[in-house]
């Protein structure tokens, strides 16, 4: 983003507002309540030493807390246990319901609290503080609904997730079941995707009636499959805990009079370290800044209308109104305009400028949109073509061209969605964005060299997953902040180091390769008619263990130098060896 800043360096007000930022003030806050079963069954460990359902749930909650802090720290989260011995809730009107965290944005303390509930110790802590007792889901649901209504902020998206391993919470008490269903029915607006844990869970016994119908009937299948593994559970919670927010609702114009309503989404976007905030020294409260314009001569405050904008070219200052500067950027109204179609192979891999968008129909805005969209998606995919569109994001933004690449829905074995159906919008570069490079003319590799490299590639091949790498910069930043937040006095004590997966595991790689690396190098040097020195390859080559230890007494060394029989068994390059020996000789000649 350095260049971006440079572009706007002397003009704060020109820093384009973050294009992808969703206006939370308008939209309200998201909220999420974890309603977790705390009965004895939840604490039973799996047969193969698998963590207990309770433990797994706490790990999930922990990861949601920390990811909320990183990606959306304004969202509200609550943690409520049911089936407890102790009761703790705002008015203490509900029995066997323990509100561990009421609805609030998560902070360091809460992260630590949840951390404390993990593992063996966590089970003990849970037992001591809450214990396991009778189950009354009705009361628990009531309590949760009160949590929502107690919040003074405007809530945009309310979710409640139930974690349990018991498919008959009331052990066949029909009256209670009925009441719980009724209460869940009352909560329909807000509730309830369900996250149940392993062990032959039969949804039809009770929970199918408690879960509110999904946004769309097709989603039904996704949620009813019980979910046993921690990874799966975590993934599903992640997919569900965030509200899909469209950054724009636009018309996809296929031609005159044919406007399909679509939503534009961001499914991948670089999460950056947040900016620091300024605090008042005396009370550590955040301060805000105000920018004012003064007239240098008169000292009077200037209104924006008292200013104009200027650039200087060829010694001439060119002045425009601010409105003119804005309107220059305008080409067409916001929207997507279909230009035509191209075969997929015309989409060049290296034509990449920024993260892609995701386009999905908005049936609620224009009825019929989903049908055209689906037909277009299907035929583009089957015919292996992409749609080329002109894209104007907001008023007064200049157009960019997008390749709309069809993406059909993909499900995993558990019927969970891996790829959502829709078009990926790939930004295409203009002529200005492509740089001409002079490629060096160099010899190419022989088949033998290529084959040897293939062996190396095979040895080091792995299954890449896009969610496999955490950002070490962010992780370290938040790890420190968490520690500092809990104990401001002792930042030095933070010894804990994050595991950085971006650093190559050199030892492992070396081990895997064995002699292959050397063999490849030998091939490069013997087969290529090299005029150049070998240094670059041998410098780091060999590794310590390959170098035989040369140990001799100074006298012996001196004798050898005099006889001129000094030899190293080490493969060092000519110059290096020469230098070494020269240095040595010089030293011993003294």
């Amino acid at each position: 983003m350095a260049e971006w800043n440079a572009y706007y360096q002397n003009e704060d007000e020109y820093v384009d507002r973050d294009e992808f930022e969703v206006d939370y003030k308008c939209a309200g806050r998201d909220s999420l309540v974890f309603l977790v079963d705390a009965s004895k069954e939840m604490f039973i460990r799996g047969e193969d030493g698998e963590p207990s359902p309770f433990d797994m749930t706490m790990q999930c909650v922990h990861s949601v807390y920390t990811s909320k802090i990183i990606s959306s720290d304004k969202d509200l989260v609550a943690l409520v246990f049911y089936g407890t011995e102790q009761s703790k809730n705002p008015r203490n009107t509900f029995e066997h319901v323990y509100v561990y965290h009421d609805l609030d944005s998560p902070g360091a303390r809460r992260v630590k609290d949840v951390d404390g509930l993990r593992g063996e110790n966590g089970a003990q802590v849970a037992d001591e503080t809450m214990g396991s007792g009778k189950t009354n889901l009705v009361e628990a649901l009531w309590c949760c609904s009160n949590l929502y209504s107690d919040v003074k902020l405007r809530l945009s998206y309310k979710r409640l997730m139930i974690f349990t391993c018991r498919d008959t919470p009331h052990r066949g008490d029909c009256e209670r079941d009925r009441q719980a269903r009724t209460k869940a029915g009352d909560l329909k607006e807000t509730v309830v995707p369900l996250w149940h844990l392993p062990g032959g869970f039969d949804v039809s016994l009770f929970f199918c009636d408690v879960v509110s119908p999904p946004e769309d009937e097709s989603e039904l299948g996704l949620q009813m499959e019980p979910c046993g593994k921690l990874e799966d559970l975590r993934k599903r919670v992640r997919a569900k805990e965030m509200k899909k927010r469209s950054m724009a609702r636009l018309n996809l114009c296929l031609g005159e009079g044919m406007n399909v309503a679509v939503g534009v989404y961001i499914t991948v976007r670089q999460t950056k370290k947040p900016n620091a905030v300024k605090l008042y020294r005396d009370n550590n409260e955040p301060v805000h800044t105000k920018t004012r314009l003064y007239h240098t001569q008169t000292g009077s405050l200037l209104l924006p209308s008292d200013t104009k904008r200027a650039q200087v070219y060829a010694g001439r200052q060119i002045v425009m109104e601010k409105d003119e500067v804005d309107v220059i950027k305008k080409f067409s109204d916001p929207g997507l305009e279909l230009i035509g179609f191209k075969p997929m192979e015309r989409l060049k891999l290296h034509h990449h400028l920024r993260s892609a968008l995701f386009i999905y129909p908005e049936e609620e805005t224009v009825t019929g949109s989903a049908c055209v969209f689906t037909a277009l998606l299907r035929r583009c995919s089957e015919r292996n073509v992409f749609a080329l569109c002109k894209y104007t994001q907001i008023r007064n933004s200049s157009p960019r061209f997008l390749a709309l690449v069809p993406q059909r829905e993909e499900l995993d074995e558990g019927q969970a969605q891996i790829e959502a159906p829709g078009f990926h919008g790939i930004f295409l570069p203009y002529a200005d964005d492509i740089r001409n490079l002079d490629a060096p003319q160099l010899p190419t590799a022989s088949d033998a060299q290529v084959d040897k490299m293939k062996e190396i590639v095979h040895k080091l091949s792995f299954k890449y997953r896009s969610d496999a790498f955490e950002n070490p910069v962010l992780q370290q930043h938040y790890r420190y902040l968490e520690a500092l937040a809990l104990d401001p006095m002792a930042p030095e004590h933070i010894e804990e180091h994050i595991e950085d997966h971006t650093v190559p595991k050199v030892k492992m790689i070396d081990q895997c390769l064995g002699s292959l690396a050397q063999e490849f190098k030998d091939l490069v040097f013997t087969l290529a008619s090299g005029k150049l020195g070998k240094e670059q390859y041998t410098e780091e080559a060999g590794g310590a263990e390959k170098k035989p230890k040369v140990e001799m007494s100074e006298d012996e060394l001196r004798a050898r130098v005099q006889k001129g029989t000094l030899q190293f068994g080490v493969k060092v390059t000519g110059t290096k060896k020469r230098e070494l020996i020269d240095t040595l000789k010089a030293q011993l000649a003294k």
Binding site: T307, S332, V366, A439, H477
Partner: protein, 581 residues
């Protein structure tokens, strides 16, 4: 103007595809040539230049536009290239060679100078068609004389002359060989812009145009002779339809030397270059006082306020920094900051492993650039080693997953290095991949498994016809691409410079409308637009669309969709039309 090229400025010609739209301006890149160029524009203003077939723009106007565009580009590029302007066929005579009846009606309008807005104003206001005629070869000699005299003792990378004429004057070919010899000796390159196609010997009238006159045919022969003798490579194609003629000034690519490592024992020297990256203009707007237009009359002042009712101001010195951790705000010192920072050892391009290309999702690319990675140009061993890797990856359809660090203490990236094998070179193409924190795994309701949205066979075939009619790449023969985005100059900057130019020479006049060529360049190609009419009509009938008007959101939805694209007014009426059926 790097090579001798003969171009014409008539739109829609056969041989040369250099249309005015391609005369792009680019103020975004500074000139980085070691030495400056110098160029003389030689414009025919003789009376025949004002003649044109009905409905066509006179050659003079076309030529003037070419010149304006070119000078505009030079002004905004702010390089040190010098430029002269010679008019011939002018009513007056003003040149060093004029004597008796020699070299008459040729006027050196501007001596070699760095182009500025004054020149643009002169071209706009003072350069007008004349009533005389002059020999274009004489004009060429005047230009050569100008170059020779005014570059004496100065260093120039290139000397160029650009001729804009319809060749419609009798000219004497007896001096031609001497002129060619002088051009060669002085190292002057020559370029022609003619208002008609150049192939076919000129006997066939260009479509819609007039047949060439005898003078023009003779002139064309001479032109070809000059061009051929100056640049033998161009013999066949007198005009090379290469678009680079008015190419923007290139930014010199910044080399990023590094070492590609695989474990501790295999390292290959590499050099990375930015290959694709969003280009931004070099200059930004500054705020000036509305009355005086002075930047210095305005001072910006930032004050810090407490979040209390009075917004009490506090001194900057009384503030410290902190970071948010969810609901907590953690104050921190400089020491904390240094300790908190993730540290990297230095630049890195370290292979973490290899994976199938199919495991990398194109739509998950992140970052704002693409790097091309080569071996250093004089290192054959590195070249062979890297080539081995590139070819192995290409054969196996795999990529290298690498840790990339630009410089010491830069943030590390994980990215994919794709093999790229071209006819002339091989390289790795590096793109950044997302971190876990960057992904939003939204799930969306199924479309194809939803009965409500399942299109009928009938509807699908309507979509098929639309796709057929709107294919931008023609299947037959050469597979011509009708809409190459990577050949369109960024319209934002074209428009910006158009407006800056306009305002600079007409300070008090409202901004002009968009250049028509720019509007056209961003639209569906005419051929496609025509072809898809019928399939589009069918599509409309097969897929009824109806806008949902929610009472509450009436206003916003109007705002959002009322004017967008080609107008919802039509779509509403469409909804009415098809609402019942």
């Amino acid at each position: 103007f790097q090579q001798n090229r003969c171009n014409e400025y008539s739109p829609g010609n056969v041989l040369v595809s250099v249309n005015p739209p391609l005369l792009e301006i680019s103020g975004s890149c500074p000139c980085v040539l070691p030495n400056k160029d110098t160029l003389v524009l030689c414009l025919d203003v003789g009376f025949s230049m004002s003649n044109s077939a009905t409905g066509q723009e006179p050659p003079f106007q076309q030529a003037k536009k070419v010149i304006q565009k070119f000078v505009q580009r030079q002004v905004f590029a702010e390089n040190k290239d010098e430029l002269g302007l010679v008019l011939f066929g002018s009513d007056n005579t003003k040149n060093n060679l004029a004597k008796d009846d020699q070299y008459q009606n040729i006027s050196v309008h501007r001596h070699l100078m760095i182009p500025n807005f004054e020149l643009l104003e002169e071209i706009q206001n003072d350069v007008q068609p004349g009533s005389q005629q002059a020999d274009w070869l004489d004009a060429l000699v005047v230009c050569m004389d100008l170059l020779q005299n005014e570059t004496l003792g100065k260093k120039y990378e290139r000397l160029n002359i650009v001729m804009l004429t319809d060749l419609n004057t009798p000219s004497s070919p007896d001096q031609l060989d001497i002129i060619i010899g002088n051009l060669k000796r002085a190292g002057i390159t020559l370029q022609f812009f003619l208002p008609f196609p150049v192939d076919g010997g000129g006997s066939n009238p260009p479509h819609g145009g007039k047949a060439l006159s005898r003078e023009q045919q003779q002139g064309l022969e001479m032109t070809k002779k000059v061009m051929m003798s100056l640049d033998e490579e161009d013999v066949t194609g007198v005009c090379n339809p290469d678009l680079s003629v008015f190419k923007r000034v290139e930014k010199r690519p910044m080399a990023w030397p590094c070492t590609l490592t695989i474990g501790s024992s295999l390292s290959i020297k590499i050099v990375g270059y930015k290959a694709v990256c969003e280009e931004r203009p070099r200059k930004s707007w500054s705020v000036v006082d509305a009355q005086t237009h002075q930047k210095d009359d305005i001072k910006r002042d930032v004050v810090y306020c407490l979040n209390d009712d009075e917004e009490t101001e506090v001194q900057k010195d009384d503030t410290i920094q902190g970071y948010r951790y969810g609901s907590d705000i953690v104050p921190f010192s400089k020491v904390d900051q240094d300790q908190m920072k993730y540290k990297t050892d230095g630049k890195s391009f370290a292979v973490l492993g290899f994976t199938k290309q199919s495991m990398i999702n194109r739509h998950q690319f992140v970052g704002t650039q693409v790097l091309k990675v080569f071996a250093p140009k004089d290192d054959e061993h590195a070249g062979v080693a890297l080539s081995g890797l590139i070819r192995a990856l290409d054969d196996l359809k795999m990529v290298a997953v690498v840790r990339y660090v630009y410089a010491r203490n830069g943030n590390p990236q994980v990215g994919a290095a794709f093999p790229c094998i071209k006819e002339k070179y091989e390289c790795l193409v590096y793109v950044q991949l997302p971190f876990m924190e960057d992904l939003r795994q939204y799930s969306f309701p199924s479309l194809e498994n939803n009965k409500k949205y399942t299109p009928s066979e009938d509807q699908l075939s309507a979509v098929d016809s639309l796709i057929d009619s709107m294919m931008l790449v023609e299947e037959d023969g050469e597979k011509k691409d009708l809409f190459k985005v990577n050949h369109i100059p960024n319209p934002q900057y074209q428009r910006l410079f158009q407006c800056l130019h306009h305002r600079a020479v007409n300070p008090s006049v409202p901004l002009p409308p968009m250049d028509p060529w720019l509007t056209t360049a961003l639209q569906r190609p005419l051929a496609v637009a025509t072809r898809c009419q019928a399939p589009l009509e069918t599509l409309k009938k097969k897929f009824p669309l109806k806008e949902v008007v929610k009472k509450k959101e009436l206003k916003t939805s109007k705002e959002l969709f009322g004017n967008s694209c080609l107008g919802t007014g039509r779509s509403t009426s469409l909804a009415e039309l098809f609402g019942n059926g």
